[in-house]
Symmetry: C2
Subunit: 465 residues, 2 copies
């Protein structure tokens, strides 16, 4: 085995994982320190760097014509900035005592050790794949990586069937339902939960289900998948639950992901209850001065509940990368935490949430009032004013905003940002009622829907005094 | 003269002005106190109540088909809630010593005194009409009231010419330019300022001008109107400036408004430097326990500059009305102030601003850094990702956000709300860089444009340390 640990006076930063968090960290560190001061080596298991996994549903659905469009920065671009990027190279072991990582060339199988002065772990997440019969059959596809997306597109171009079953009804599930609709498939979504979008309360999830049914999607809720029966050719032919079988020419798995932390676990690094790495505010792995971690493999602080969460989302991964790169490049930056904002859509239905759901609030001992209001995206008299439902939770006594969920059409989703900033600032719903939000008839009713919800919540909180 | 001041044990609330602030106050007071406890008398000079003046450009432009759609609540609806509404009745005098108002029936000329226990002044604003030759000629129209809008529509249906000149390039001016374009007119906008939209810095106003020119609108800047020459029939035929004459079959005045406070001034109530009534936080006129004022006739506290401003906008008027109604109905509510948010559009160009412009900041002695960035409304690879320019001002040393201006296409305008909430919360641009905003490719790049601006501003502020 070859060992490359003889490096000169300059420091070496080793990055494990070549997507958003890892390569943002590498790029930011490079901005702060030139190649004479800092050598940067980045290992990536796959073929691609710095791509938008969140864009895969739109590539599969045909909104994005070309895989290359999802790539924010190519390997060549990284290398041009003096980052020693090693593709198709998987890190198989962390040796913290000697400050080195063992990496294996995926194609040749050759292994070597690389020493580091500073280490960034950005190993991402792995899809949840329950061990069920047929899970590995042809025609069954995850959509976590560009390679996954390409494999699904290859299947779609090869097969003539028009029935797609999506397993899971979270963000990936509903976005893939849209993608398959757009490709002309009959779509069935099979979902374990009471309603789709378990990141919403069920009363808001019901609105999503009704809208998706209105789009012609068959929604199967409260259904545990028991297997993926295959046909004579060995390919998947259905999704089976305890009660029924749903014929499928292609199956898309949108069941979610877990932090990919097997390397970290083997090395004894601290993991949280969700299996993600635990870091301090500067994204350093707790107890390790020279190791950072970010992106889908870490847990983050939820500023509303005060507890750790695992939120795999490109926007966080990019922020983590910036902060890690600042630290590893000798600067200073911190990540305060998240409030749990997410936005998605199914065809023209927009779905957004931030903060705590009812069950989140209860779990951390918060008592609250919840209100739900109906309003419109624009002044009611303006063309294309579309309906929207806003649910808001506020803490008893303090009146502090705890969470907002929005389901509506065009103009609904990004309104959640108002609540995201208010949550970050610790505003009360009463304070929110006087927020000076943008108003003109094409943009909002004279009371923005978020303000209408805040007024109702504030009134309800006062009534409990 | 008839005097109706004999009222029983119940209190009487008199409201002057029947639009947003006045009637919201009346309605909210009625919610808190029934007719047995509180008599409510409201005087309105015109024919209408509770209408959206902001909607007039869209009615004139044809997006809103019907005047009635702009009326949120009719006189009959107010009367059904036991509000004694007197239309076409103008209050001509306030007698604070005896607690009464004199009102005149506009049609009959009859006058009478009405006594009050509590008074709400919601007299709105009056358009600025410079005293120039031809200003009252047929074909010259303001667009402040529904009556104004109707008169303009009557002119448009009568005349065959297709050349419209809009005087003024603020919100009303640019919205009326759009309205006249939609009606098929050749539109010229004559504007005193260096660039249109003086509520933006000139560098951002330039983007508006270029876009409007791209729509085929003739933009004349830095031009003082010297008169409105008329033809043989007495009707307007052009708009004259010092340098040129712009032929016009119809002229729309969008020059802005001033607080309508002549009654208040005559009664000796406190007015600010912009001519608006001065109130305390509960919207009581300063020094007057039983008189409230709100809407376009008051000045408001700018939370960013700490100074008083006059911001005539329906959304503020509605908030004021709620707060006044709470107070007059025996409850408690306050209006903390504004941050100066406004949003508008010209065809598909969206224009938004909040907080301070460069000159506002200088005027109040704030030193700052300004940054401008270009980004897109959606992920760059997603269909219809449209360009947007975001300008951000942050205070030196503290890094506190001072203001944001946005010019772009679909999805640009309401992003200003992120900054509006951050301003209200007193966030620094560095704090903003970690805001947890909604991200998915159809809604935003992985770094929302506002975050891109915040990052650049934070970097610039740090460089000055």
């Amino acid at each position: 085995m070859n060992t490359s640990d003889a490096h000169g006076a300059r420091e070496r930063l080793v990055v494990i994982g070549g997507d958003a968090a890892g390569m943002s960290a590498a790029s930011q560190a490079r901005r702060l320190k030139g190649p004479d001061e800092l050598e940067i080596v980045a290992f990536e298991r796959g073929h691609f760097t710095s791509y938008s996994a969140c864009g895969i549903p739109y590539w599969v659905g045909g909104d994005v014509s070309d895989r290359e469009q999802l790539i924010a920065r190519t390997p060549e671009e990284h290398r041009a900035r003096d980052i020693d990027l090693r593709l198709r190279t998987e890190v198989t072991e962390l040796d913290l005592d000697r400050g080195r990582v063992r990496a294996r060339d995926v194609d040749s199988g050759a292994e070597s050790w690389t020493s580091y002065d500073k280490l960034v772990i950005a190993t991402g997440a792995r899809p949840i794949r329950p061990e069920l019969p047929g899970m590995d059959a042809p025609g069954v596809h995850g959509v976590q990586t560009l390679d996954d997306g390409q494999a699904l597109l290859d299947t779609l171009s090869r097969t003539s069937g028009r029935r797609a079953v999506v397993v899971g009804a979270g963000y990936i599930g509903v976005e893939m339902a849209e993608a398959m609709i757009r490709r002309g498939y009959e779509v069935t979504v099979v979902n374990r939960g009471e309603e789709p979008m378990a990141t919403l309360d069920p009363d808001m999830g019901r609105l999503v289900r009704e809208a998706m049914e209105g789009m012609g999607i068959t929604m199967v809720n409260g259904a545990e998948v028991t297997g993926l029966p295959t046909g004579d050719d060995g390919g998947v032919r259905a999704v089976a639950t305890e009660d029924a079988e749903y014929p499928a020419d292609v199956v898309v798995l949108g069941i979610g992901v877990r932090p990919e932390t097997s390397l970290a676990r083997a090395a004894g690094l601290p993991l949280g209850e969700h299996g993600g790495l635990l870091t301090d505010r500067s994204m350093r792995v707790r107890g390790h001065e020279n190791i950072w971690a970010g992106g889908d493999c870490v847990e983050v602080l939820d500023l509303v509940s005060g507890q750790q969460r695992h939120i795999p989302l490109g926007t966080h991964a990019n922020k983590h990368g910036q902060i890690i790169g600042a630290g590893a490049g000798g600067g200073y930056a911190t990540f305060p935490g998240v409030v749990g904002t997410a936005v998605s859509k199914v065809c023209d239905l927009e779905i957004a949430r931030t903060g705590l759901r009812e069950k989140d609030a209860r779990r951390v001992g918060l008592r609250f009032e919840a209100v739900t209001i109906e309003s419109t995206s624009r002044a009611g008299y303006y063309p294309n004013a579309s309906p929207m439902t806003v649910k808001m939770l506020a803490e008893l006594r303090t009146g502090r905003l705890l969470g907002v969920q929005i389901v509506g059409r065009e103009g609904a989703g990004k309104r959640v940002d108002i609540a995201a900033v208010a949550l970050t600032a610790g505003m009360t719903v009463d304070q929110m009622t006087s927020l000076d939000l943008g108003y003109a008839p094409p943009f909002s009713p004279v009371w923005d829907p978020v303000l209408v919800a805040a007024r109702k919540a504030a009134t309800k909180i006062r009534a409990t005094f």
